[in-house]
């Protein structure tokens, strides 16, 4: 063991980084960006779920609880008609609505508190603030109704999902698409970079090939691989993991395929901005991680701080994830305007990336 030889290796390594400013920048900028984003997502959140209240109680208790809920910091309430509730859940203007039935006070007299809770249910993590707020309000009220033992027996209804949905059922839909998107992106960016670094791209450029032909050929080649991978992922998810699926399997496959095509073209496009495989891999924390955080996979977009919601709404992955959930959790088909938008955005991004990819492939490389 020679200290001098070890030092030579250490020094060589650090000297190499000194010339690769971008890697150094990434090394020190990426963690701040990612952690900052995460912090803002988790703490900066000022958006509480919108909850509708329908008070049909003949007695006084319903309005007391409703009044208490109005002051809750966990949710923001609006008064609605119980008959409009489901429509408002479907169009996304409400996350949940609570109905106090006409016999609410009467039943409370006999010690049973039975509000109806209707949850939208397609997004994990949105239900708990609603249940917490209601529980808190009822505890406050119960302390006013002294001396009686009351039992809290809410009737919980789910528009989508439900008690038989576990965490994987919620996340699975999004992850099926994400796994394909991520892996296809990495493979494309690295192999297109190889084409540059091994000099074959120079040869292609000196041949009669058109830029569009190169991009299209690449896209088809990787899409074939991506489709096989998509099918495998889908079969594994549905048959082995038994992830809940309400929708049409072919639609899921179609959405996956769109995501794969987007990933291929993103890879080709971004490979223009990398000089080495090392730099190419750096696009993962820069391009992929923030998109994943903001896409609504883990944190619902509606609960993000307003500024980040803007950002989420321009990132294509948000639409892709939303589309996958619409199909698998909500059972949406192509007649659903939500899914139409999602599919259209992802397809539009594909076209945009194909154009951008061919545009950056300059015939005159220098």
């Amino acid at each position: 063991m020679s200290a001098r030889r070890v030092r030579a290796i250490t020094r060589r390594l650090l000297e190499g980084f000194r010339r690769d400013r971008r890697t150094v920048a990434l090394l020190f900028v990426a963690p701040i960006v990612i952690l900052g984003l995460l912090g803002y997502l988790l703490r900066g959140s000022s958006n509480v779920p919108d909850v509708g209240i329908a008070n049909q109680d003949a007695g006084p208790l319903g309005s007391i609880v409703a009044g208490s809920l109005n002051h809750s910091s966990k949710i923001s309430t609006t008064d609605i008609d119980a008959s409009d509730g489901d429509a408002k859940l479907k169009d996304g203007s409400l996350v949940a609505y609570i109905v106090f039935p006409s016999d609410f006070s009467q039943k409370a007299q006999s010690g049973q508190i039975t509000p109806e809770i209707h949850l939208e249910g397609s997004q994990p993590g949105q239900d708990s603030p609603v249940l917490q707020a209601l529980q808190q309000s009822l505890i406050e009220v119960a302390s006013q109704v002294a001396g009686r033992s009351v039992s809290f027996q809410p009737n919980v209804h789910y528009l989508y999902g439900g008690p038989n949905f576990d965490t994987l059922d919620y996340f699975g839909a999004a992850f099926i698409g994400l796994v394909v998107f991520f892996l296809v992106f990495v493979i494309t960016i690295v192999s297109f970079l190889n084409e540059r670094s091994q000099g074959t791209l120079e040869r292609l450029m000196a041949s009669p090939l058109r830029r569009g032909e190169i991009v299209l050929g690449y896209m088809l080649g990787f899409t074939v691989l991506a489709l096989i991978q998509s099918a495998e992922v889908l079969i594994f998810s549905l048959a082995v993991l038994r992830i809940h699926n309400e929708g049409n399997v072919l639609l899921i496959f179609g959405m996956e395929a769109l995501m794969a095509i987007a990933a291929v073209n993103l890879g080709i496009f971004l490979s223009m901005f990398a000089r080495s495989e090392f730099q190419a891999v750096q696009f993962i924390p820069l391009v992929i991680v923030p998109q994943v955080l903001l896409s609504g996979i883990i944190f619902p977009v509606s609960s993000e701080p307003t500024g980040l919601q803007w950002l989420s709404n321009v990132l294509p992955l948000t639409y892709a994830v939303n589309g996958m959930r619409d199909i698998m959790v909500k059972g949406a088909d192509l007649t659903s305007p939500g899914l139409q938008l999602d599919a259209a955005v992802v397809a539009g991004v594909c076209v945009l990336l194909i154009v951008a990819g061919s545009a950056t492939l300059r015939r005159r490389v220098a």
């Binding site: 450029m205 000196a206 015939r363």
Partner: protein, 238 residues
């Protein structure tokens, strides 16, 4: 009149930032000749070759290839370009590589002939990553000539090649020139110059002298091409 020339480079300049890679180069290559582009490393040979096949856009001047002003995609079909390092797909076999470059030029029929010419037909199934440097170079040559181009641009094809293979390469080149192909071969090895019909000496992005090896000897005032070249280079500098 321009039809006598396969390549007509007229006052071409190209800078990369502050570096003048080409500084007003004018040269003409006749059809069916082997033209040697000679000069030290960094003289501008590769940039000139890339300008001829349209990969580099000149800041000034014009390049005409086979009667067409470059860049022109149509002419690219008639050009073969062998890059300095053997640019091949390492995970494909020799034959698959040649077939690929044949296909993008629409010349699938020429694969066997090209492989036979570079004597790789027996090794056609070998994966390129397992080949020696010389075999890769031969495979690279096969990829450049598989579509029977009218103009073949060879950027230092004999660098890093043993003397035996070098002799073989020059045999191929002569055979092709005899069949009517125009070849531009760059090199920094002066003893290859004698194998060319005409030479262009290039240094600091300028054409120092042009002519047959005999002309160059006369201009440089030395029977030794290397000395003649050095004399011409020194004269230009002072």
């Amino acid at each position: 009149m321009s039809d006598a020339y396969a390549v007509n480079v007229e006052e071409v300049s190209k800078s990369f930032r502050d570096f003048k890679a080409l500084n007003g180069v004018t040269l003409r290559v006749r059809r069916g000749e082997i033209y040697g582009l000679l000069g030290p490393n960094g003289a501008g040979k590769t940039t000139l070759i890339r300008a001829i096949c349209g990969l580099v856009e000149a800041n000034a001047g014009t390049v005409t290839v086979l009667g067409q002003k470059m860049p022109d995609v149509g002419v690219l079909r008639r050009i073969g370009y062998m890059t300095q390092q053997a640019a091949l797909y390492p995970s494909l076999s020799v034959q698959e590589n040649v077939e690929f470059f044949a296909a993008i030029n629409g010349a699938e029929a020429g694969v066997k002939e090209a492989l036979e010419l570079v004597q790789l037909y027996d090794r056609r199934g070998s994966v390129v990553s397992t080949l020696s440097g010389g075999m890769r170079q031969r495979c690279s040559l096969a990829c450049a000539l598989v579509h029977k181009p009218d103009l073949l641009l060879l950027d230092e094809p004999t660098v890093g090649i043993d003397p035996q293979l070098r002799v073989q390469f020059w045999d191929y080149f002569r055979a092709m020139a005899a069949a009517g192909t125009t070849l531009i071969v760059s090199s920094h090895v002066m003893d290859e110059a004698d194998r060319c019909q005409r030479l262009g000496l290039i240094q600091y992005g300028r054409l120092l002298a042009e002519g047959s090896p005999a002309d160059i000897r006369a201009q440089g005032g030395s029977q030794d091409l290397e000395e003649a070249f050095l004399a011409l280079a020194g004269r230009k500098e002072s």
